[in-house]
Symmetry: C2
Subunit: 397 residues, 2 copies
């Protein structure tokens, strides 16, 4: 894992959870330009409301993010807001930075107040053990995740080597009260506030916003990007060459993390990747890709290894996009091969044995060629299994 | 079951399906004013496209509906349109009525052409056995439904006794390629075309449009109302006294049928009824009720008899409606009692034993009091079970 210059990480166990690490800090030696994308849920957790305010006031002066897992600090009213602010204050005290330079994040059960004594002890300890190793932080933000989710890459811009490192969590298949998706991207690129905002929005629309585990949007979802400028490149402005180079790097990180989130669910046995190609416009392409990947009927068909093309076409049809259904070609693809199952909106005869072989793989691509434009979109999801129902039916608040 | 004056029904087995009845006709002795609401899916089955055209051209002259089950005639291209039209022609020939007075409907597997020889034999036979008994028709439109779905009521308008009879099918839990929702309402009321259209739209918005079985919208869904005027009342005009009286009767029929559709699914063990009350506006009330009833996490919680209020609040939050989450009160209710689980958007302590007892019933009401307006909406759905996944994962195209 590459670590961008000037960032330090920590993850500790402060006993919000019984055994595993539950509190983490990211710290930058110098102030960062920061941008965030937050849950669209009307019911927003206290840290989400807190961070939106901080990023409005101080987008060029962020020095730290403090995150706890185990308790979401959502549906917690006024006391929740006081606790979110206290997390920032305590972190600022321990790190010797201004309060308004600290962002806060939580993930875990809804409707429970944070145990602030434990949280404050955790912050003290984490501030003492900051290091170049991002792994303890990645572990500390996990809830029901079974795997750590990190990805990094490097890119040359303006003769300078720039590093991008992303750390995420999210696992909707298991205890979905804890299904929050969190992602923290750090980079040593130098970039303007406007450019960073634009870049993050563009990338999120084609990564985290295109994954579906169970269709339910958490109260705590957030993606934060911190750029501390230590690579020493000329400040990147919107839609310049440097902008697109950094975009590619950040987007690689976000797409890899989004796929890792989809892959990681005990209930899931398969990953679906839906490609919508030759769509009339980008909005329709995205609507259709998301609709297919979110359909319970498509999810169960993939689980059952059934080349049920009618369900895919129907899901495209109710996506909300307007299009000519009589132009659609549909393919299923995997390591084992590729098969055409529909042409011009109608089924074609295909070898059931071959289809079965293709669908028996772990990663299935569903390719919908709309033949009515040039836009494309990709979405990722997983299958729907008895295990999902079992786990979510049994889970107790 | 009350039957409106002048309507006759038939249902026969013409071997599209192996054993059960698969072709039905509704016939009115005199021309009907007719209105229809059709699937919003962009991918529309041939009979849907055909009927939309007929109702545009001839809304005051409908005399019959012919319906087959077993094959949906969806994703069947030009041949599908030819076959839909041929069903109407054959029915018109056998009944001695104009072709443009016949509506067509299909439900069953997608992507397969109708076996027209069997269908035509079925139409011949059905036309011969028309009677006052609606039961054979109700049986003939079933696919994976385990129960016949009919409801009738009477209302006095203008000194005349008016009868409304509805016959429906729909069962998304089992073989969802056949999950089409069909509903045919017959009445002997005399009503203007404009009034009938308005009345149907109003009622559908608060009945069929508020049920969720698996979130997937069929290519074949349709609701048709036929009014033949034989009750002899003065023609009902929009928003008169008579209009609202007939609305109440039709709406009773539609709500009962909608609930029967939700109840009938082998995979389902419980029915949920979501009441959103004191909402800021009707659109928000409906969005929120539908969002809750469609949430996989709420569905599995109900299945698991878990008073997981956080999932309900979160589903309200991502519904797309804008509201103040800090005003929400939430209750679970059933035959066994009623319990408050959240107040002003936050959890309240409640007796877990009592909650368990309430949620162990077959019919669960979730009541969300928004305390920010006067509008209400109801939605119906069922739980999500391992059985649903098992059935849909195994089902083969």
């Amino acid at each position: 894992m590459f670590t961008p210059r000037g960032f330090k990480f920590a993850g500790v166990h402060c006993k919000i959870k019984r055994k595993r690490k539950d509190l983490g800090i990211i710290f930058s030696e110098v102030p960062c330009v920061a941008a965030g994308v937050f849950t669209t849920n009307v019911v927003k957790a206290a840290p989400v409301i807190y961070d939106m305010e901080i990023l409005k006031k101080n987008p060029n002066g962020i020095k730290a993010v403090v995150v706890n897992s185990g308790v979401a600090n959502a549906c917690t009213g006024e006391q929740g807001m006081i606790n979110a602010r206290r997390m920032a204050e305590k972190t600022a005290e321990e790190l010797g930075v201004p309060v308004e330079s600290v962002l806060v994040s939580s993930t875990g059960v809804i409707g429970v107040q944070l145990p602030m004594d434990k949280v404050e002890n955790g912050i003290e300890e984490a501030a003492r053990v900051l290091s170049n190793d991002p792994l303890p932080f990645a572990e500390a933000i996990m809830t029901t995740d079974t795997k750590v989710k990190m990805h990094s890459t490097k890119v040359m811009i303006d003769g300078k080597e720039i590093t991008v490192l992303g750390i995420a969590k999210g696992s909707g298949m298991i205890h979905p009260n804890m299904a929050t998706m969190l992602s923290f991207i750090t980079t040593d690129a130098k970039i303007s506030e406007e450019a960073l905002k634009k870049l993050l929005k563009l990338s999120v629309d084609d990564s985290y916003n295109m994954i579906d585990v169970d269709g339910d949007t958490s109260t705590n979802d957030m993606v934060i990007v911190l750029a501390n400028g230590l690579a020493g490149n000329t400040t990147i402005q919107p839609e310049t060459d440097g902008f697109w180079k950094l975009y590619e790097a950040v987007h690689e990180v976000n797409q890899v993390l989004a796929e890792k989130i989809v892959e990681d669910g005990e209930g899931a046995t398969k990953v679906m990747e839906v490609h919508v190609i030759n769509a009339p416009d980008i909005k329709s392409a995205r609507l259709i890709a998301r609709s297919i990947v979110s359909s319970n009927l498509v999810k169960t068909a993939i689980y059952g290894e059934d080349a049920n093309w009618g369900r895919v076409i129907a899901a495209a049809g109710y996506s909300g996009a307007t299009f000519d259904p009589e132009k659609l070609d549909l393919f299923f693809e995997s390591e084992a091969g590729r098969i055409k199952v529909a042409e011009n909106g109608q089924g074609v005869s295909f070898d059931e044995e071959e289809a079965k072989k293709i669908l028996s793989e772990k990663k299935i691509r569903i390719i919908l060629d709309m033949k009515q434009g040039k836009e494309t979109a990709k979405a990722w999801g997983c299958d729907l299994t008895e295990k999902y129902v079992e786990i979510n039916g049994r889970y107790r608040t």
